[in-house]
């Protein structure tokens, strides 16, 4: 019971902090002081206090987009185990639901963007679906590989299965998985080198351009949903990359939080040292990640 409460609390409250840490890391690399760690929270509060403006040409789809996106991500957050504790909801085959919840949320983001009728948003939507088409197989291959390793179809078992012993025995495929998942993590969350979350030029944007027309609380929901998505995929990544379980629930939670913060710093570092890829190169990297995960699957199946 305590674990469930902690699970929900962490999943609800923690995500924006990740964005704050990433921002601070980038600021440190650039030699600036940077915004405070809690800045994303302030931004969210500010947005939620604002009024909403909706274009007359839009329909209910535009309004439903952010809400459905956030709720799908929230359910996904309940499906995954955090800090070596079983997930709140879990059943056999939930990994497929997990993968398609992201599909659902993406569908509504893009369709809401198309609903505005703006050409820029249409362009962003086209890019988003193209790249996610290429990123999705990676996630699936990774999950299937892990499912095969743990011989289970439940996310709770799959993601808590990796242990130091397994890492030693099949380090190669685990390393491939971690590499592939990290690339997916960056791509799915629209981070550099795939997309620049801070860009101000519509022509180069992918994710940001789709949400240009949202304002006030709707935009706040989108921002929060994005942070939550980063948190969920980051948690999947941490579960695989850091297979440590002490047995003490509280210490495990502490380790998990710490690992997530380290992950945020890592993402910040990647964003600081890398430049954004040219659009034509992005599919190449995504296909590369797919091949990595497929290769891992091959090694496991052998």
């Amino acid at each position: 019971m305590t674990d469930i409460i902690i699970h929900c609390a962490v999943a609800l409250l923690f995500p924006p902090l990740l964005l704050g840490v990433i921002g601070k890391t980038k600021a440190a690399f650039a030699g600036r002081v940077g915004a405070p760690y809690l800045q994303p929270y302030y931004d969210l509060i500010k947005l939620f206090r604002k009024g909403s403006v909706f274009s007359e040409t839009t329909t209910w789809v535009f309004r439903a987009g952010p809400v459905i996106t956030l709720s799908a991500t929230l359910i996904a957050a309940l499906l995954i185990p955090l800090g070596r504790h079983a997930a709140v909801i879990s059943f056999s085959g939930d990994l497929i639901l997990f993968a398609y919840l992201f599909g659902l949320s993406r569908f509504f983001t893009t369709i809401a963007a198309l609903d505005t009728g703006s050409s820029f948003e249409g362009m962003g939507a086209a890019r988003e679906v193209t790249f996610s088409c290429l990123a999705e197989p990676t996630l699936f291959f990774s999950l299937i590989t892990l499912a095969r390793m743990s011989r289970s179809l439940t996310l709770s078992n799959i993601l808590t299965h990796p242990t130091p012993a397994i890492w030693l025995a099949s380090g190669a495929s685990m390393l491939l998985l971690v590499g592939a998942l990290f690339i997916t993590l960056l791509a799915e969350n629209s981070r550099i080198p795939f997309d620049d979350p801070n860009t101000h030029l519509e022509l180069t944007m992918i994710h940001e351009v789709m949400v240009l027309d949202h304002s006030g609380p709707a935009f706040g929901i989108i921002l929060y949903g994005a942070a939550l998505k980063l948190f969920v995929l980051g948690a999947v990544f941490v579960n695989i990359a850091l297979p440590i379980a002490t047995g003490n629930p509280l210490i495990d939670w502490a380790i998990f939080i710490l690992a997530m913060l380290v992950l945020a710093v890592t993402i910040g570092t990647v964003e600081s040292v890398m430049a954004r890829l040219r659009l034509v190169r992005i599919p190449q990297l995504l296909v590369g990640a797919t091949i990595l995960s497929a290769f891992a699957l091959m090694l496991v199946l052998r």
């Binding site: 025995a169 380090g171 491939l176 190449q284 091949i291 497929a294 290769f295 091959m298």
Partner: protein
């Protein structure tokens, strides 16, 4: 130690894919150098320590990891090129073909009549995959340098298979083979240099004067 050797072979196969995916020549030369160094380390992991082994390791690392990459990058510098132009088949398709080849080589190795002690090792699939990658590079790329790299990768693939039977290839023969490879690459480097001077490009698709009318 065998487990570590297997992990290194996975790395060898990954380097194959990296070389298929990249257009920067210097980068693929470095990748092939890393592959060469791994190949040099591998014999030490699967055979018991001996003086002969140390010499082989040092010689292979020196030849495949340092001298040959140096020779090729020298040719690149002299020819003033940095990138492969658009190859006959694009990068993403070749990468996918490479991945399919790798999968096929796993399937193929499963069905080979291998000795029981070699059944579970990655040597045979890695060897076939590397060989096929070499072929792919040789046939799809236009630049002479990329073709030389493809040839090197092909040789590396054969070498991986050779690791299974070190006693059939005495040190002298192995040294001779390496020396031949070295001189071959050296001469290829010189030829590339002349091609770039003669055609002001090392695009081998321009080499088509000689054919039947």
């Amino acid at each position: 130690m065998i487990v570590l050797a297997d992990q290194l072979l996975v790395l060898v196969m990954l380097i194959n894919l990296v070389m298929l995916g990249t257009s920067r020549l210097i980068f693929s030369i470095r990748a092939v150098a890393v592959q060469g160094v791994i190949l040099g380390v591998l014999p030490g992991l699967i055979h018991p320590f001996s003086f002969h082994l140390t010499v082989i390791t040092v010689v292979i690392i020196l030849a495949k990891g340092i001298i040959i990459p140096f020779l090729i990058s020298d040719a690149v510098r002299k020819a003033h090129i940095r990138r492969e132009v658009e190859p006959f088949i694009g990068y993403v398709p070749t990468l996918l073909i490479g991945a399919v080849f790798t999968a096929l080589s796993f399937a193929f190795a499963q069905n080979l009549p291998l000795a029981p002690e070699h059944k579970d090792l990655l040597f045979v699939p890695a060897s076939i995959a590397t060989l096929l990658t070499g072929f792919l590079l040789l046939t799809t790329r236009r630049k002479a340098i990329s073709q030389v790299i493809g040839y090197l990768v092909l040789e590396n693939g054969i070498f991986v298979f050779g690791l299974l039977l070190s006693e059939a290839m005495p040190a002298m023969v192995e040294a001779g083979a390496l020396l031949d490879l070295l001189v071959g690459i050296f001469i290829m480097g010189i030829v590339i240099n002349h091609i770039s001077r003669e055609f002001s490009s090392i695009d081998t698709s321009r080499l088509q004067t000689l054919k039947e009318e």
